[in-house]
């Protein structure tokens, strides 16, 4: 399965040809009932889709060909993501592909690469991220989960929280404190842990939408082989930090708000709200906020396509896109009036509308991936050069 020799060099294709091929595949193969779902996709929803992507050699657009990836350059990667978003293709529980896989390639040993990468690609291993703790959220380096080296094992004690889809996962990648340093970013190590290891318990947390998308993960004398350390001991912060840039671009893509805008416009039209000048003024301001945000996004995309690294200024995209998305779902609720607070899908003069789920879905967008406040701190210091 997945022979890299038979795979075409996608980067040699023209952008148009590549886009056409990706679009055709998504339209043909992606299950229609999973388009634009309003919650994080679960493994049981997505495993068939994972298998289709895997069999086509498309599950890892960012991985090199010799590892079974598509090896897309930045320009082609943007097209791939744009087509996913255009068709409303959900992200599968893909942290193994987007996060830990690339880190293992860069910092892992040959044995770790040989063991983990093929299993991650095939979906045998599904990963979740063990970073945040109850007292280490925005201040992640304040984490306290301890990993004490005893012979050939780390003994891990502590708890992680806001671990998305942990109950779908087979493995967790973990930041834990292994030593002390002069700075709190020092003395942290990056570990790979099998969730079946004795001493691990999961407690799902119900979110505002009523979904159990994230968990608390407790570690009670969990013995992790020393061989599962990625990178140097006490140097896990370097490993974790290596994953930036592209993620902040895709997180700031205008497609999700654009989809929400189309729903809002359909509902507003069906209810005759566009004839109300007060509503219209707010609606059109939001529409322009999204379209103008897309112009800003386009600038960063061009930068990526030219092969230039993204600077810290890409944070502004996340702030703007996510906050605009929220304001849009606020107006959607308002457009629904009494129906806006009734759960479920409504028939609004022939238009199907769900008011509450988009609202809930947009809420954490200004919290995860670095809150809006953290992004503003970054921009103030690194882009505006304001004093600390």
């Amino acid at each position: 399965m997945n022979p890299s020799s038979a795979r075409p060099d996608y980067n040699a294709m023209s952008d148009e040809d590549f886009r056409r091929e990706v679009r055709a595949f998504f339209e043909r193969e992606y299950p229609p009932y999973l388009r634009y779902i309003l919650h994080r996709a679960r493994w049981h929803d997505m495993k068939e889709w994972w298998r289709k992507l895997y069999e086509r050699g498309w599950i890892a657009p960012n991985w090199p060909r010799e590892r079974g990836g598509m090896a897309l350059d930045a320009g082609k990667m943007v097209i791939y993501l744009e087509e996913m978003e255009r068709h409303g293709v959900a992200r599968p529980p893909d942290q193994g592909i987007t996060q830990v896989g690339p880190l293992i390639m860069r910092f892992g040993t040959a044995a770790q690469q040989e063991h983990y990468l093929p299993r991650t690609l095939s979906g045998e291993y599904i990963w979740c991220q063990g970073y945040s703790e109850p007292n280490a959220g925005s201040d992640l380096a304040g984490l306290q989960t301890a990993a004490v080296l005893e012979g050939e094992y780390f003994v891990v004690n502590g708890q992680k929280i806001w671990t998305s889809l942990a109950d779908d996962a087979t493995h967790i990648y973990l930041l834990a404190r292994t030593g002390k340093g002069t700075k709190k970013q020092q003395g942290i190590s990056f570990l790979l842990v099998d969730l079946k290891t004795p001493g691990i318990t999961l407690h799902p947390i119900r979110n505002l939408a009523g979904h159990e998308e994230f968990c608390q993960v407790f570690f009670d004398d969990v013995r992790v082989p020393r061989a599962n350390l990625v990178g140097e001991l006490d140097d896990g912060w370097t490993v974790a930090k290596a994953l930036l840039g592209f993620e902040r671009l895709s997180i700031g893509s205008p497609r999700r708000p654009q989809y929400a805008l189309n729903r809002l416009e359909a509902v507003a039209r069906a209810k005759g709200l566009l004839d109300d000048p007060g509503f219209l003024d707010r609606f059109i301001a939001l529409k322009l906020d999204i379209e103008d945000g897309a112009a800003l996004y386009g600038r960063f995309v061009e930068q990526v396509k030219r092969g230039e690294p993204l600077g810290q200024d890409v944070s502004m995209l996340k702030v703007w896109t996510m906050e605009t998305w929220q304001r849009l779902t606020d107006l959607l609720i308002e457009a629904g009036a009494e129906q806006g607070v009734v759960a479920g899908v409504h028939d609004v003069a022939g238009v199907e509308a769900d008011f509450l789920n988009p609202f809930y879905y947009a809420r954490p967008a200004t919290i995860y991936g670095g809150s809006s406040e953290i992004q503003r701190n970054i921009l103030a210091k690194t882009v505006l050069k304001l004093p600390g």
Binding site: E265, L274, D275, P277, L280, D281, F283, I284, A285, K287, L288, E291, D292, G293, A295, L296, G298, R299, D313, M316, V319, W320, E373, R376, N377, L379, A380, V383, L384, K385, L386, P387, G388
Partner: protein, 367 residues
């Protein structure tokens, strides 16, 4: 390249002391500086090459306007080299174009476009000024308002209605029956009010008529909106730079005030608005240079004007607040930027007007 020559011109040829000296005067701007701008080719950017211009696009004009606006250069670039130049370039009267466009590009004649008649009425076809056929020409009656660049204008391109439709006419400033009054603006410049009382225009002064006249006026308005947006971009950029410099250096409570998170986050939001405006300006100007049909042209122009006006309004108002009491003094320059933004925002349609026009064009909404 163009950007550098604009920056060089601003550094050597103009300063805010000149802006202060000219504000509130009936001169408003200097013909000598206007000639220098002509010498650099800027007045002919939008004039086709066969009429002595450079035949370039709005992208180039936006670079010049943005750079000059950073220094609040009072010469009427948008009013004359965009609005009047676009209207005249789109006219049908070849003899008139061959005569006046090279002179406009050379800075030897400075026309202004007199099209608007009522506040907040921005449809170029909303014309009550009458042009009555008279002895081989037209006799004009009516009042044109809010004419930018009028202070030292040598001629006006006047829109009027005849029994047969709309005409666009070339009217020398000193024509009998034409009287110009100036209304003082917040930024020290003025709007002209052109009163036409049996003003005579010979047939040779008919620049365009019918559909061609309306098309020329519509394009001039949209291009004017786009370049007014570029001016607003320059104004907001400089105002934000001033604010950030102040945040970095002003010390209170023993620390630079820019170290306070409350101010940092506000500054970041202004920066985001500035970047949005700049991204929209560049994207939509490029779209305009591809020569879209009238509805797409109008939508692109409105997008620019709406975003740039709102961003500039926000940034220049916050500039006053960031600077505290000094920001409220006439002596300090932040106020000059606030006032320029005020005028550019109101001129050629406020943000809310442009958003509604955009709604009509993009969502087919009746407003």
């Amino acid at each position: 390249m163009l950007q550098m020559s604009v920056a060089d011109f601003v550094a050597r040829g103009t300063d805010l002391a000149r802006v202060r000296r000219l504000r509130g005067t009936s001169a408003e701007y200097e013909r000598a500086v206007w000639k220098k701008m002509a010498g650099l080719g800027w007045l002919g950017i939008l004039v086709p090459e066969r009429y002595g211009g450079l035949g370039l696009g709005l992208a180039e004009m936006a670079i010049v306007a943005r750079g000059l606006a950073r220094a609040l250069v009072p010469e009427p670039l948008t009013a004359t080299a965009v609005l009047a130049a676009t209207a005249l370039s789109g006219a049908e009267n070849e003899a008139l174009k061959r005569e006046q466009l090279p002179r406009l590009a050379a800075g030897d004649v400075l026309p202004a476009l007199a099209w608007q008649e009522r506040a907040a009425e921005l449809d170029p076809a909303a014309i009550e000024t009458r042009a009555m056929p008279f002895e081989g020409g037209f006799k004009l009656n009516g009042v044109k308002r809010f004419v930018a660049g009028a202070a030292q204008a040598d001629a006006f391109l006047v829109s009027a209605r005849t029994t047969g439709g709309v005409v666009l006419l070339w009217l020398p400033r000193d024509a009998a029956g034409a009287q110009l009054d100036l209304e003082p603006l917040a930024d020290g410049r003025s709007f002209g009010t052109l009163r036409l009382d049996d003003a005579l225009v010979p047939r040779s002064g008919v620049a365009a008529s019918g559909g061609a006249a309306l098309e020329a006026l519509g394009r001039a308005f949209d291009h004017g909106c786009a370049i007014a947006g570029a001016e607003l971009a320059g104004v907001m950029e400089r105002a934000l730079e001033m604010s950030l410099d102040y945040l970095r250096t002003r010390v209170q409570f023993g620390r630079p005030i820019g170290s306070f998170q409350a101010l940092q986050h506000r500054a970041v939001d202004l920066h985001i608005h500035k970047e949005l405006a700049s991204a929209v300006l560049e994207e939509a100007v490029a779209a305009l240079d591809r020569g879209p049909a009238a509805p797409a042209r109008a939508a692109a122009a409105s997008r620019i004007k709406a975003r740039c006006a709102d961003a500039a309004a926000r940034i220049t108002r916050e500039a006053i607040q960031f600077h505290g009491a000094i920001g409220f003094t006439d002596e300090f320059d932040a106020g000059l930027y606030l006032k320029r933004a005020l005028v550019l925002t109101a001129w050629l349609g406020a943000a809310s007007w442009h958003r509604r026009r955009y709604a009509r064009l993009s969502s087919g909404v009746r407003t």
